[in-house]
């Protein structure tokens, strides 16, 4: 399995370092979901930031839930605010 999944709150400076980024894949997603490269450095990082391990399905469900809420918020906007090309309806996506 190339990636592993967790939730963790980004505490700011030092939450992930340049060395972390060079040692394993890392990407942040809505709902404090993090996709982490599944190697020893990635697993060590999850422990360091007190991450809560999730299955891919669990992580995907969290992200989907956040996006569904954003979609509902967007749907409730006045039509004029839906028109700009920089305010398109949020779209669900598949975690890597």
């Amino acid at each position: 399995m190339a990636n592993t999944y967790c939730t963790a709150t980004n505490t700011g400076k030092g939450f992930f370092t340049h060395q972390d980024r060079n040692d394993f894949y890392l990407s942040g997603h809505p709902g404090d979901v993090w996709v982490v490269g599944n190697n020893p450095a990635g697993v060590s990082w999850i422990n360091r930031v007190a991450g809560t391990a999730k299955t891919k399905a669990e992580a995907q469900a969290i992200v989907d839930g956040i996006i569904e809420t954003a979609q509902a918020d967007w749907d409730a906007l006045p039509e004029a605010e839906k028109a700009p090309t920089n305010n398109t309806r949020p779209v669900k996506y598949i975690l890597p």
């Binding site: 980004n10 700011g12 400076k13 340049h18 990407s27 942040g28 954003a70 605010e81 090309t85 920089n86």
Partner: protein, 325 residues
């Protein structure tokens, strides 16, 4: 058998602890504590987390000439236009005096102690509204300055508080523009237009005599142009789209980061062409950035208003252990 002294002319130094990686770049030493042979190298650039902003928002801008460790972010959008201003010290953000006019998607220039916030949208009554208002920050508070010639939002901006530019952007109703306006410390004048077509959601960096502009929310998506103080010239395109992104650095060495609506893509400009470099950890748009192509910082952004900061460092130095197998 070749020896280290034979190759380098010196013996391998013995050290009880590892030196700083950047200072030891290119050298080898024997760590007597760990009984290991070590070396330091310069690796590719990478992003690390920075301190979180105190107020999450997107469509922010910044004092574009500020360094990584002394940035200034202002304005933005989160349930309406924002007036918050925050200073960064390389570790944490601190809120300081607010703008007089709340706005989103403004231009920005200058430093943490001498900045300019120009135009943008007050989001009142809606995002099509524009303000011509310009404010100057003196390190403590904001004061009113002469208005821009033509109001815009989501434009490129660059320069200092006494020599700045506002480049293209959306003049309202989704109308992309080609205009460039120059600030001389007192007033704004119209300059020569961009040559690649109208753009909004573009990004700029550099100075009023050596500027760089790239990115757009619509065609020409990947166009890149340089400015010589008088006119714009087309140069090599970006490889990827970068709308509502941010750019920091100079005309000769810049970083262009992010893409609407949640792109992590980053490219580096070497004065001639663009090349992909390490991606952001958190995809976003409507962020701001300051610093150089060696040491920069980006902050804020959407889709959900974010307080996340990431710091760019290139190269990243590392201490490695020599392994023999």
């Amino acid at each position: 058998m070749a020896t280290y002294k034979g190759i380098k002319g010196v013996k391998v130094e013995t050290k009880a602890s590892d030196p700083t990686a950047s200072e030891a770049d290119g050298t080898v030493w024997y760590n007597s504590t760990g009984a290991t042979l070590k070396y330091a190298i310069a690796g590719a650039g990478a992003w690390a987390s920075g301190g979180n902003m105190t107020t999450a928002r997107h469509y922010v801008n910044a004092a574009r000439n500020a360094p990584q460790s002394a940035s200034l972010v202002f304005a933005g959008y989160n349930s309406g236009a924002r007036d918050e201003t925050e200073k960064y010290n390389g570790t944490a953000w601190t809120e300081v005096n607010d703008l007089n006019t709340a706005r989103a998607g403004p231009g920005g220039s200058g430093t943490q102690t001498a900045a300019l916030c120009m135009s943008g949208t007050p989001y009142s009554p809606d995002s099509n509204a524009r303000t011509s208002n310009v404010e100057e920050f003196n390190g403590t508070s904001w004061s009113e300055k002469n208005n821009v010639v033509t109001a815009s939002a989501w434009m490129g901006s660059l320069g200092t508080n006494t020599a700045a530019m506002m480049i293209a952007g959306d003049s309202g109703g989704g109308t992309a523009t080609t205009m460039s306006q120059t600030w001389n410390g007192t007033s704004w004048t119209e300059g020569n237009n961009l040559v690649s077509g109208a753009v909004a959601g573009n990004s700029s960096t550099g100075s009023t005599t050596a500027g760089l502009n790239a990115g757009a929310e619509s065609a020409p998506y990947k166009a890149c142009q340089t400015y010589n103080g008088t006119s714009w010239t087309e140069v090599n395109n970006t490889n990827l789209n970068h709308s509502y992104a941010t750019m920091f650095g100079t005309q000769g060495a810049a970083i262009l980061a992010a893409e609407y609506p949640a792109g992590t893509v980053v490219e580096e400009w070497d004065g001639t062409s663009w090349a992909a470099v390490a991606a952001l950890a958190t995809g976003r748009y409507g962020l701001a950035g300051t610093g150089s192509s060696n040491a920069g910082v980006v902050m804020g952004g959407g889709p959900s208003p974010s307080n996340v900061t990431e710091e760019w460092t290139s190269p990243v130095y590392a201490v490695k252990t020599v392994t023999v197998s």
